[in-house]
């Protein structure tokens, strides 16, 4: 059990900069230790993307569960968060103390601009996955062949959801559920 705790703490410590970073680190640790196979791992990733909650947390909880039931699922998720916990605690204290400082304000104003760039970049990455077939199978999509892979149905779905959201506003959770229903209508029935 100590080994599991240390492993997930290591993953939590090394994952800087977002969910996608956790995936290679987990492969390097849990797959190479032989806890699960690479195929199981990718199954777990796709399930974690389709279930609620942060993806990296879901993956780790899942691996914990696969290895030792609910107890290890709990241990895996807590161990993963321990490094975050320590860092956030320290940084939050500093933030509270200095947030009115002139230089700190400047930095945060700049950082909010960076977040704007980050979000647009993530949005385009998301469009790429949704609008083109085969991105997840690592097919190289460029200027010469992109039109072959366009999934027109998904564009229609996005336009419908976009129109609904602009017209009715309201909570985003609602639209995520509507999206799920449109997905079933378009791709399952």
């Amino acid at each position: 059990m100590i080994e599991e705790i240390l492993t997930f703490m290591y993953v939590g410590l090394m994952a800087i900069g977002g969910g996608l970073v956790t995936i290679p680190i987990l492969i390097q640790t849990v797959v190479e230790k032989g806890w699960i196979t690479l195929e199981e791992f990718y199954n777990i990733v796709s399930i974690s993307e389709a279930t609620p909650g942060p993806i990296g947390l879901n993956i780790s909880t899942y691996i914990g569960y696969a290895r030792g039931g609910i107890l290890l699922a709990i241990i895996a998720s807590i161990s993963l968060i321990i490094p975050s916990f320590i860092f956030v605690y320290i940084v939050a204290r500093a933030y509270n103390k200095y947030k009115e400082n002139k230089y700190v304000k400047k930095v945060f104003k700049g950082l909010r601009a960076t977040v704007a760039g980050l979000i647009v970049s993530t949005a385009l990455g998301m469009y790429k996955i949704v609008v083109f077939n085969g991105v997840e199978e690592n097919i190289e999509i460029g200027f010469s062949n992109f039109y072959k892979y366009i999934d027109y149905l998904s564009i229609l779905g996005i336009v419908i959801l976009f129109a609904l959201q602009l017209k009715f506003k309201g909570n985003v959770i609602k639209y995520i559920f509507i999206g799920g229903i449109i997905g079933i209508l378009f791709y399952y029935i």
Partner: protein
């Protein structure tokens, strides 16, 4: 007793949101904006963006870091514990339920259909969110330069986010103008 009720509220808020937080970090960020900023007044939108920015550079899962910051703001150390338990409980419950059917679940065609639909909704959600964030936060020329630079660095050049954040800190310290705020 009052303190205990506050902590329970923090736990329960994250627990409830955990069950509906489909679609990964940014969608969850938007859910936090709707629920914790607009409905509950836990924090301001600007503060949430600040937490989101710092969380990029701290180890761990970004949105979990954001939840911990919010827990800390509402209830200090114990608030962080409450937020952490609230965030992990839904994952553990849901995964314990579906783990038994792991292989089938991943291969069901309907799972992929739902997932594709959820991703479509997230495209539309993040588009609107991008517009809001740009409108509210890019108030001067340097802001635009930083945002466009960050976009190019992340989208086209695949530069790690913490390097982009470090560069932003330096540029902002040197030239950012905060007069009148």
């Amino acid at each position: 007793m009052k303190k205990f009720r506050e902590l329970f509220e923090i736990f329960f808020v994250f627990l409830r949101l955990g069950f509906v937080s489909f679609g990964g970090g940014l969608a969850i960020f938007k859910i936090y904006t709707d629920e914790l900023v607009k409905k509950k007044n836990y924090l301001t939108e600007e503060e949430l963006l600040n937490f989101y920015a710092i969380s990029q550079t701290i180890p761990g899962i970004i949105i979990v870091n954001v939840a911990l910051f919010i827990g800390n703001k509402k209830g200090g150390f114990l608030g962080m514990l409450a937020a952490m338990l609230g965030v992990i409980t839904p994952s553990i419950i849901i995964i314990s339920i579906i783990a038994a059917n792991l292989k089938q679940f991943a291969q069901y065609k309907i799972t992929h259909a739902i997932f594709k639909g959820i991703n479509m909704s997230i495209c539309s959600v993040i588009t609107i969110m991008s517009y809001d964030i740009i409108k509210k936060n890019l108030t001067n020329v340097l802001g635009w330069i930083i945002a466009i630079g960050a976009f190019i660095a992340l989208f086209f050049l695949n530069i790690p986010i913490y390097i982009v954040v470090l560069a932003t800190i330096i540029v902002s310290l040197l030239w950012m103008d905060c007069e009148g705020e």
